[in-house]
């Protein structure tokens, strides 16, 4: 109580990790894509905030997949557009 909630402890939130530049370059090369083609995550997303992701970072998400058991997904941190 009182302390701010850490969303990473919730069972519905998969593991988020910030990728370093080298890993990002590898990722983009493997799939032959540009950075903008990755799915997005907002900079003020609670899970992104919890690991200190900043705009331009790529976050690796390790999901508990129902089919593969474990699956990696990637999201690019972007600024939340103003409504």
């Amino acid at each position: 109580m009182g302390t701010s909630l850490d969303v990473r402890n919730h069972e519905m939130v998969p593991d988020h990790q910030i990728m370093d530049e080298e890993e990002v370059a590898d990722l983009l090369a493997t799939y032959h894509i540009t950075l903008e083609q990755l799915p997005k995550i907002y900079h003020d997303d609670p899970a992104a905030k919890a690991i200190g992701g900043e705009v331009g970072n790529v976050i690796r998400i390790i999901r508990d997949s129902r089919t593969a058991g474990r699956a990696e997904a990637y999201r690019l941190v972007v600024k939340r557009p103003k409504k």
Binding site: M1, L5, V7, N9, H10, E11, M12, V13, P14, H16, P39, K40, I41, Y42, D45, P46, A47, A48, I61, R63, S65, R66, T67, A68, G69, R70, A71, R75, V78, R80
Partner: protein
């Protein structure tokens, strides 16, 4: 099986579960090197075969696979099934709600799990439920309207307050504050008396009886204990532990309550989950909710279809609906958007904005009558005629 073999399994480009299953079935078995090679080759080729072909129209397949069983779902809008006396929308209306990404579901509910110290003790679980359930002032005492003196009198019942673990002072403080903040009614003065456990509300306008009754209405229904959005809490015992089911949902405030297990507590409000726990949790919530809605109706749809839909909805960092205000409405191609709902508006807007259709997608190419880039249509094959005498 030895560790070398395990490493070779790990090195293969197989899904995690397949690797684990393979390892599990090979432990305690004697396999020769030759057999192992064979097994690996077989498993790998089976996996390759099970993968989706390039240029396969997965979106259309997903749409059909969810749509067809959807026709068999119950269509009645007011179909409820009680889970612990709490009504939850089910069937087609619920599925539509999920796909439309509504801000608020028609029946928001939560399953609040408790920490070990609270989960196995009925009284302590009950105490947590009082912290959550919204309780209006009239549950804590008698409220009378004194027409002669133009006042609303509240006589608190000390026994009830003690039983529900709320101090008199707290009520004296929160009631007027909440009427001002939450109910936006400010034209009154208040006098609290801790000794006689009473509250006296006096409206500023001493002339109007209507005003007095309005004030009394606010006083009666002001929430003094619990979380405003949560109308009802049911304590139920499941598998040895007590779980609180709520009518109404407010994750953020429930997480603040002492005794609540933050890691397991769930809501059925998807956009709330996405706001509080992040987009990835939102994606999980969509999959979970859609799947349980379908399964509850005895319909089994492969998760992959639902996962694809959930991925599309959560692509841009927030939960978007499938319809014209979301995914379908943000397509690049004018013709594709026009082929979905509100055709004329899209064409008119596109004409005014001087939009150009690059004809990259499927729908627009079908419209103009060109081969589409799907399946064999995507393969650019040029045959060089050899030994051809013209």
């Amino acid at each position: 099986m030895n560790s070398d073999m395990e490493q070779r399994i790990d090195a293969l480009d197989l899904p995690y579960r397949t690797q684990e299953d393979l390892k599990a079935s090979l432990t305690d078995r004697d396999v020769t090197e030759e057999q192992f090679e064979q097994i690996l080759a077989m498993v790998f080729s089976e996996y390759q075969k099970s993968r989706i072909e390039p240029c396969e129209a997965v979106g259309v397949v997903a749409a059909q696979s969810i749509g067809e069983p959807g026709t068999q779902m119950t269509m009645r809008t007011f179909h409820y099934a009680g889970v612990a006396e709490i009504n939850v929308t089910l069937g087609l209306p619920r599925l539509i709600e999920i796909m439309d990404a509504r801000r608020e579901p028609s029946t928001p509910t939560m399953a609040v799990y408790l920490l070990d110290d609270w989960a196995f003790n009925r009284d302590r679980a009950r105490k947590v439920s009082w912290q959550i359930e919204a309780a209006p002032l009239h549950e804590f005492g008698d409220i009378t309207i004194d027409m002669e003196n133009m006042q609303v009198l509240v006589m608190l019942n000390k026994a009830v307050c003690d039983r529900r673990k709320i101090s008199i002072d707290e009520i004296l403080e929160t009631a007027p504050r909440k009427i001002r903040e939450k109910r936006h009614f400010r034209d009154f003065d208040v006098e609290g008396d801790p000794k006689s456990v009473s509250l006296t509300f006096t409206p500023k306008n001493q002339e109007s009886y209507q005003n007095l009754f309005q004030l009394a209405e606010h006083v009666r229904h002001v929430i003094v204990q619990g979380i405003d959005d949560i109308e009802r809490v049911v304590v139920r015992k499941e598998g040895g532990e007590y779980i609180l089911y709520t009518e109404g949902s407010n994750l953020k405030d429930v997480f603040e309550v002492e005794g609540v297990d933050i890691s397991r507590t769930r809501s059925n409000n998807i956009s709330e989950i996405a706001d509080v726990l992040g987009i990835e949790a939102g994606r999980n919530a969509i999959i979970q909710e859609a799947l349980s809605t379908l399964n509850e109706q005895g319909i089994s749809v492969d998760v992959r279809h639902i996962m694809l839909v959930a991925d599309m909805m959560c692509m841009d960092g927030e939960v978007k609906q499938i319809g014209r205000h979301g995914i379908a409405g943000e397509k690049e191609s004018v013709l594709s958007r026009a082929a979905f709902e509100v055709t004329v508006n899209h064409l008119l807007d596109a004409a005014i904005a001087n939009e150009v259709d690059e004809l990259n997608g499927v729908t627009e190419n079908v419209i103009v009558g060109q081969p589409i880039q799907l399946g064999t249509g995507d393969v650019k094959l040029i045959a060089k005629p050899m030994n051809l005498k013209i």
